[in-house]
Amino acid sequence: MTAQEVRLCGLLLQEHFGDVVEKVGTHLIRSGVLTLRALAHETKLPLDLVKKSLCVLMQHGMCAFGAGRRGPAGPVEYHIICERILHMLRYPRYIYTAKSLYGDTGELIVEEILQRGQMTMSSTVKTVADRLTHNMPEGQSMDYSEVVSAFSRLVETHFLQRCPPLASAESSSSGEVNTPLPAVTKHTEPEDHPECYKLPYINLTGQGKRRRSSEDGEAEQRAAKKAKTDNSERGDEGIYWQVNFQRFHLHFRDQAIINAVSCKLDQTSGEIVRTMLRMSEVTTSAHAAFTQALSANEIFRALPSSYNIARPILDQYLTLLVDDPMEFVGKTGDSGGGMYVVNLHRALANLARATLESVVQERFGSRSARIFRLLLRKRHLEQKQVEDFAMVPAKEAKDMLYTLLSENLVQLQEIPKTPDYAPSRTFYLYTVNQLPTARLLLQRCYKTVGNLIERRLYETKENKRLLEKSQRIEAILASLQATGAEAEQLTEVEEMITAPERQQLESLRHHINKLDSSENQVDETIFLLESYINSTQAPR
């Protein structure tokens, strides 16, 4: 865990779970693995709060526990899974994707499960139905069966998965206090469990209930208690579902590839690549370097009929895709009219390279970008060669190279002619290594998001008084309108905020929106770079 990642994790935990969880979480990240007592002692927090924080983190899958170094008889040790905390940046993107694929119902299901960490199917269905009913016009309500079908579709396409069961759940004796715990080092994937995507049989019929505003507090408590007792009757007690982040990431990766192809070539090529990816969804594993080989005949049959592409035109498009220097699609054989694959890892590498080049261009200008691209292509170049190839005058080339060197985007490689490394007799070559540069940029992105969050918190804190005042006035306005007040009273209350204050509020809102939007956008870059770096690592 780098310092920037730890800082960002801390900020995210603080925003979503409060200061206590942030302290516990950051300390646990820094220490690696700790027992409960050690953690409470080192953070100097009351034991109850530490216990609650650990429960919250485990509920959301960010903390895992296992038998400690002393074996199953010793105290339990906890460790944090950092990438799950960093995924919190991407939650809006997951929810939006669910909406675009499965409509409002899918959106609410994914949002509920993300908010709660893990949920049973029956409680999810009930909550989502109630929320949908609340938004519907009076008299209508949402049937449970619709929500169940949306849930089933999400599970069938692997966007939701069951939480992995613990080894302790298998020991049947109830009197045992020391149930066998899974070892800390063993990393069980949820997909190791054979019933990962199996839907439980639940007996759930009914419709969503509309919540009246008058019976707010009590009804919620009663409903919450009722939900707990009802679970046992529904038949899916103990089966919890979580969001399958890996599947969403594969979806984002596919989308990025299709967008790139559409931008570089044209819409039809994008559709062809989309078809190929869709066909190989189930047959390709998550870490595969390329999809399964598909014959041109199969692709032709699977194309959407609305596109009306003739067979010879499809062949031309495929040839074009294969010849493209981006190498998104490769040809692996000639049977069946030609066997084609989508080169996933190479596509990710190209996307990452495009990101790096774009960063250099926006930061340092197009001529620096030209030098950077040149170095990426030609690997090692001397000072003189850079000037010649890039067609940039010597002085400016030097300047740009030194700027890039000081930013660590370009490295200097020494090649000695003599064994004593005499400076007059060594070659000094400039070079760019894509992978380390991508890592560097990824850390910069984490730092950027951290800065954005801190700035947003600072802005909110500066104007806290004003924000509270406006919230109170809104509450007063809402209650007045509910009780049916006259227009005069409403305007009187509205005037409690003066015009300059209104302007200040407006600009504050504008700033905060801008900062939030920036976070979302930086996260897109983070996703691309992370996917590229993960693809270069050997699968565990």
Partner: protein, 212 residues
């Protein structure tokens, strides 16, 4: 390295590209400014329906998380003195721990938080009531037994009476208390009242003392 001037470098400067007599930028002796002026303006943010929708999702999600029981607030600082303003400031009750109960089969048992005191005060009242009918049944059974055994052992009766006492103390303590109080329907406890019967008895011994 290059501390003693350009002429004392370990490698020839020409290789790296700096010619003789060229103007190098002055060496900086302070840290770079906090907000350096940018040569290139950054690209504007993406706008559009998708970006705005994701922005709204993000802000709603953040707001929703603050209301859920997973948002743990630090323990309220202990008050040194009770202040008048406490009545008007928001005291956030930590009832959230009651709202969410994790499934303890999936979590280690050591994370279970013991119930707090206000619950403990109520809980003794609950087991008392089921205890009483049980005690009554046991009482009846024991009374029958003691009646049988009364003729046999006078001392064993007392022992059993003592055994009964701690069990029946709680149940009968209130009854005894009630008896004393409600005998004559007065507010005064009967044993405190001296109804003067002993007054006359004392005077028989000492006739010489004056009676007031």
């Amino acid at each position: 390295m290059a501390g003693r001037g350009r002429g004392q470098l370990t490698f020839s400067v020409e290789i790296v590209g700096i010619g003789k007599g060229e103007n190098l930028p002055p060496s900086s002796v302070q840290p770079t400014p906090l907000f350096p002026p940018l040569d290139q303006k950054p690209v504007p943010l993406q706008t559009g329906e998708e970006a705005e929708y994701m922005l709204a999702l993000k802000q709603e999600f953040r707001g929703a998380m603050k209301t859920l029981p997973f948002y743990i607030r630090p323990a309220a600082p202990k008050k040194d003195v009770e202040r008048y303003s406490d009545k008007y400031q928001k005291i956030e009750t930590s009832d959230h721990s009651l709202e969410w109960k994790p499934d303890w089969r999936r979590f280690p048992k050591e994370l279970r938080v013991r119930e707090k005191r206000p619950l403990r005060d109520k809980s003794p009242a609950v087991p008392k009531q089921p205890k009483q009918p049980r005690v009554d049944k046991e009482e009846i059974i024991r009374k029958l037994e003691t009646l049988e055994q009364k003729e046999e052992d006078g001392s064993s009766d007392e022992e059993e009476g003592e055994k009964k006492k701690p069990q029946e103390e709680e149940a009968e303590g209130e009854e005894e208390y009630d008896e004393e109080e409600f005998e004559d329907e007065t507010d005064y406890i009967m044993s405190y009242f001296d109804n003067g019967e002993e007054f006359g008895g004392d005077s028989d011994e000492n006739v010489d003392e004056a009676i007031y």
